[in-house]
């Protein structure tokens, strides 16, 4: 967070445990969720005629609410959302099986590995590259 606010160009480290000895796939998904939150903070607080909402506050008045305002309907799309951090109240969270953040993150890691596919290399590209690695292996005495 501090590096981001200080204007770092790259921040690396997600997924790392034990000072870099161990990499944890679940932790990478946890950190990924935290990155979304810090990015949201970086966008700051916009102060302009629309956001200060003076006329809306005046017309709503004390002891009212803003649930039905058009600005709430459009503005809610700009609110932060979470994928894995559970924002439900305790009862609903328990009804959903009390999912722990880290456990949810590991499940999400498994799902992504199952469902996500990187664009494949062309067959001839893969063949040529394989040949380079195979030749290098033969040089050090490994034969496939």
């Amino acid at each position: 967070m501090m590096a981001l606010l200080a204007g770092a160009s790259v921040i690396f480290g997600p997924g790392m445990l034990e000072s870099g000895i161990t990499f944890d796939l679940g932790q990478l998904v946890v950190d990924h969720e935290l990155i979304a939150m810090t990015k949201y903070c970086r966008s700051g607080i916009a102060v302009n005629d629309a956001t200060t909402a003076i006329e809306e506050i005046i017309s709503a008045g004390p002891a009212s609410h803003f649930l039905e305002n058009a600005s709430t309907l459009t503005g809610m799309r700009n609110l932060s959302t979470t994928k894995l951090i559970d924002r439900q109240v305790r009862e609903s969270w328990e009804a959903a099986g009390s999912p722990e953040f880290y456990e949810s993150a590991k499940q999400e890691a498994r799902r992504i590995l199952r469902e996500h596919h990187a664009a494949p290399l062309a067959d001839d590209v893969a063949r040529e590259m394989r040949a380079v690695v195979a030749a290098a292996d033969r040089e050090v005495g490994v034969f496939d």
Partner: protein, 326 residues
């Protein structure tokens, strides 16, 4: 006496810029406009009288109090940029200052995760004692807080039991929100016994009175009772706005901070009228309404921004701030 860690405005301190001067001027001037033309709803008749005395336009039928910019300016002139929070032991006093930060536990929860069994259950008076003792023993926490409500005592006296358990278990300063006039009077009586008399308590206030406006723009009786009692006792006051963006305040960050700022300025007018120069915290525990679940989403980037905005606005006014985190 303890002082906080140096933060912004000290050489070597890390600082985050949230607003430009123009942004804060916009929020301030918008607040003056809303307070002058719309005003706030004040529930208690006693508080209405005090607002009228302070030069506000009070409608006793609608309970609306409209506050002119000059009245706000006058309250801001008398506010203290620094003050001392007194602990039972003077060595634990904490000086609250601009640009320095101290830490306090959360307050107040209704449930506790049992340390022995892990069970999530209703909190008791013993839990108040345990939590307060734990925080007393953690040196990184300069302040204490009655962090849970005792639910095994008569509900009308819950805060008095909480106060008793707290005095027993900490020598650090702490805050507590009382339930009304009777509660405030009895709590002050208890604190005077600990301090060694009413005069000693006035010189070294051992209580900090806490109140929360109800967004948007409502000062309920429980808040004004606490603030009036606190200001009369020369005790520090912590006013904690609790907007919920998209529900009780506009969905936008700036609009939510605008409503909060109106509530803060109205509360400040009351407190400074009762006792000019009374210590006051510009406080916030404002959050967002999660539109998927209808829950109040606290651990969000929006809350982080609200707290940064709160600190910035309080600095703009030269008033110490009280923000939520961790």
């Amino acid at each position: 006496m303890k002082r906080g860690v140096q933060t912004a405005a000290h050489s070597g301190g890390t600082q985050v810029t949230v607003f430009s001067e123009g942004d804060m001027d916009d929020l301030h001037l918008g607040t003056l406009e809303i307070l002058d033309h719309t005003g706030v709803f004040v529930e208690s008749d006693e508080a209405l009288d005090l607002f009228a005395d302070a030069g506000c336009r009070v409608n006793r039928d609608t309970h609306i109090v409209k506050i002119a910019p000059t009245v706000v300016a006058d309250a801001l002139r008398s506010v203290r940029p620094s003050f001392r929070l007194c602990g039972r032991s003077p060595a634990d006093d904490v000086l609250i200052e601009q640009g320095r930060v101290v830490f306090a536990p959360f307050g107040e929860g209704l449930m506790v995760n049992d340390l022995a069994t892990g069970e999530n259950r209703q909190s008791t008076k013993q839990d108040v004692a345990d939590v307060v003792l734990l925080a007393d023993g953690l040196e990184g926490l300069e302040l204490n807080n009655a962090a849970v409500v005792p639910r095994d005592v008569p509900p009308d006296n819950a805060e008095l039991h909480s106060l008793e358990a707290t005095f027993h278990n900490t020598t650090k300063p702490f805050g507590i929100s009382f339930l009304g006039k009777r509660d405030c009077e009895l709590a002050t009586k208890m604190a005077a016994i600990v301090a060694g008399g009413a005069d000693a308590l006035y010189e070294r206030p051992l209580l900090m009175f806490v109140g929360c406006p109800v967004a948007p723009l409502v000062l309920p009786t429980i808040l004004t009772d606490n603030f009036i009692a606190g200001a009369r006792a020369n005790a520090p006051i912590q006013c904690t706005s609790m907007g919920m963006a998209g529900g009780s305040t506009p969905v936008s960050l700036a609009g939510t901070l605008m409503v909060q700022n109106c509530e803060q300025m109205a509360s400040l007018v009351l407190v400074q009228h009762v006792n000019r120069g009374n210590p006051y915290f510009y406080g916030s525990s404002t959050c967002t309404m999660d539109m998927r679940w209808g829950s109040s989403a606290v651990g969000t980037p929006e809350t982080a921004l609200y707290m940064a905005g709160t600190a910035a606005m309080a600095r703009y006014y030269g008033v110490p701030s009280w923000t939520a985190g961790y």
